[in-house]
Symmetry: C2
Subunit: 436 residues, 2 copies
């Protein structure tokens, strides 16, 4: 995929912009340069967020069915308040003793399987995956990494080299092998685990010792594959048989989003060696982490120290702790489970009337919906783009994903309700009606 | 240097801790694992910060002469207020149009030489240096990197592999060469530039095309080398002659700290190809950036897109903009210049009376002070440690640096005044008197 082919990327000139929008686009080009991308044919100029709503400069409200960072709702007062209080009290680092980071670590580890006994803090999911790689390389004395064909794990040099979804302009490392995502339509669990075993053999054949299989446990950039739960067990066994570790990238599915569990890997009944997390962790505050088996932390810590200036700072800890408190107090995991079912049921009902819609996948409030050509019933990226942009004009925000860019990615803040889902469905119905 | 040999690292058992401190240390070990390090023989348990002061759990005030992150003062109300307001209004990313990140970019680029025309936002200095490497590799089709012998550029896999100060447990990359830091005592500018040219030749001799020379322009981890201004010009010319780029790592000296200029490279009259920045940028909020020549951004952006979920988010932009406003409104650069001179004069006066003190180096409020064995006048890491820990007991915070861990690193918030410097000097005098 070329950089330009990023699903739902703004292409200058494709739509008429207001003077304000055009000036902002021009300023971005001039100041930030060409590596930045905007969403939508007509980019959205946001000024305010609240709950599941984003507001543009004209005061128009947009139903946010896309942003998983503001997971407990845009500008949730409990989190914003915790950030404001701590930023006015102390904002320093982990080379002093401070209770906040320890309270957070304790609470996070309580959500993990007993085998996962330590947690290390970073600022971004990229940094967490990058640290996981460093630790895996050290622990296995290997460098081979296995990822899915359209995986995304971040933007540092090391993790960009194992993120094929960044496109052909960002070469994969010579030590990286890709396996097809576990699409139930093409083999499911047996096929996936076999592909992992074969990739590990291929690495070994090239003199590269396998270090890790890393997967986003909801396979977001591959197209959202959630079922049947359990298919990761055999894959984790396959990488371990080859001497490597199993790393669960929970940046997308973590923190209750799947409804069925706090973490995506739990749905599969597998215990990872390391677990990375990020995006929703601070509801917008830059905080991320890597939870791991203590023996792996020992192996790494005996050789290397780890200090991340902002990682686990007092404000980051307060933000992340507040998010965990809200998830529990508002019972958002169970809420995501129920609303997600209602939402998918509604999407399937629409699908029975509109042949553009194909399979509905997902768990909780992470939903993938295939868009197909209504005649040939084959993947239809252009159709997906028309729906995404049609919804944007109808003031509903989603995006598209998958190697063929034909999967609608629906991933609202967890405070999304049945009523919000119904509103989404009615606007989607209108958009589909106009597309014919 | 082994991990344990980190200057000023806490070693369990070396001092008697209070019950509270001991419990916190135990919780850290149990939750965060062994890669984390604390400062001081008796770690500091901080609970609050204000201006140049940190307060411990008993309410004792510590004069902070070390933390450059809280550069405009701990919990500066203008910055904390901007963070609180924006966190309650909107905290979203750069794939929507938003004025904040553009206002910040404009203001930052206005402080740069005209050749530096774009800026890209990350969350940490590590990520900024990692991105600089990715761009340098792409632009030069090379991978060779030259750093100083005790350089520190961050903790991602790519930049840890070019950070020798992390110790022998973190191997340097096969594509990395080190050059002695430009210690005026051992050659200064001519020696440094020659070493860069030789390292580039050695890379080429090994079939590795030179991509970049990257230096912290105040050479913090090497021991703080600031004089004579201008010595970087020949080094930048040497790497460019070899086909590589010159990257100024401004994470430590940037944002007015050197007093003489906004950026450390400016003191040297050199224009870098890329400029990374971080720590003080958000006064504790995780925000960092890479400013660069537009043609380099074009070369990268034509192949790769760059998206950092939290990088340049609306709150990060508000925090960084507020920091720039405070630096200007409180004239902190000029203040750092004057207080730094007063401070270094005082340190030199003390040095004339205490043979443990050697050369005083630095610019503005970034000061390196050699500690020597009073008899042999050779580098004395143990003496430096006794001073650092003696000051901590006298409630003054600094640390040590340099490959021989004998350089006192004095780097207070920029709001440090002459009176604070005098207080520091009087407490240092007491500590030196007890050491004999």
């Amino acid at each position: 995929m070329t950089p330009e082919a990023m699903p739902n990327a703004f292409r200058p000139g494709a739509a008429t912009l207001s003077d304000t929008e055009a000036r902002l686009v021009e300023r971005r080009q001039s100041l930030l340069g060409p590596a930045y991308r905007l969403f939508y044919e007509r980019p959205l100029h946001v000024v305010r967020g609240e709950g599941v709503w984003l507001f543009d400069a004209e005061g128009e409200a947009y139903l946010d069915a896309y942003n998983n960072v503001a997971s407990v709702g845009h500008c949730h007062p409990h989190v914003a308040g915790a950030v404001a209080r701590q930023a006015a009290t102390l904002a320093t680092h982990t080379r002093y003793l401070h209770d906040g980071v320890l309270d957070l670590a304790e609470r996070l580890l309580a959500t993990m399987p007993p085998a996962i006994g330590h947690v290390m803090f970073t600022c971004t999911g990229s940094e967490a995956n990058d640290l996981a790689l460093r630790i895996a390389f050290q622990a296995t004395a290997g460098t081979g990494v296995i990822v899915t064909v359209n995986a995304y794990h971040g933007v540092t040099q090391a993790v960009a080299a194992m993120s094929p979804s960044l496109g052909a302009g960002v070469p994969l490392g010579a030590h990286v092998r890709t396996v097809p995502a576990p699409d139930p339509a093409t083999g499911g669990d047996i096929g996936f685990a076999s592909a992992v075993a074969e990739a590990a053999e291929d690495l070994a054949r090239h003199g590269i010792r396998p270090a890790a299989l890393i997967v986003d446990t909801i396979f977001s950039s591959d197209g959202v594959f959630t079922d049947p739960p359990g298919f990761l067990v055999a894959a984790a066994a396959a990488i371990r048989a080859a001497g490597g570790l199993f790393i669960a990238d929970e940046v997308q599915p973590g923190f209750g989003r799947t409804g069925e569990a706090m973490w995506g890997f739990e749905r599969h009944g597998v215990v990872p060696d390391m677990v990375s997390m990020g995006k929703p962790m601070g509801n917008g505050y830059p905080v991320a982490a890597l939870a791991l088996r203590p023996d792996l932390a020992e192996a790494f810590g005996s050789q290397a120290r780890y200090f991340n200036t902002f990682g686990g700072n007092a404000v980051a800890a307060a933000a992340a702790l507040a998010v965990l408190e809200v998830i529990e107090a508002e019972a958002l995991q169970g809420h995501a489970l129920e609303v997600g079912r209602h939402f998918r049921d509604g999407l399937r009902r629409l699908g029975s009337r509109f042949p553009r819609l194909g399979e509905v996948r997902g768990a909780g409030l992470f939903i993938g919906l295939d868009v197909l050509d209504p005649e040939s019933r084959t993947p239809d990226a252009a159709g997906a783009s028309r729906i995404v942009n049609g919804l944007r004009e109808a003031r509903v925000l989603i995006s598209a994903t998958g190697p063929r860019a034909h999967v609608l990615k629906i991933r609202p803040p967890l405070v999304f309700s049945d009523a919000h889902a119904d509103l989404f469905l009615s606007r989607l119905e209108s958009v589909l009606a106009t597309l014919g």
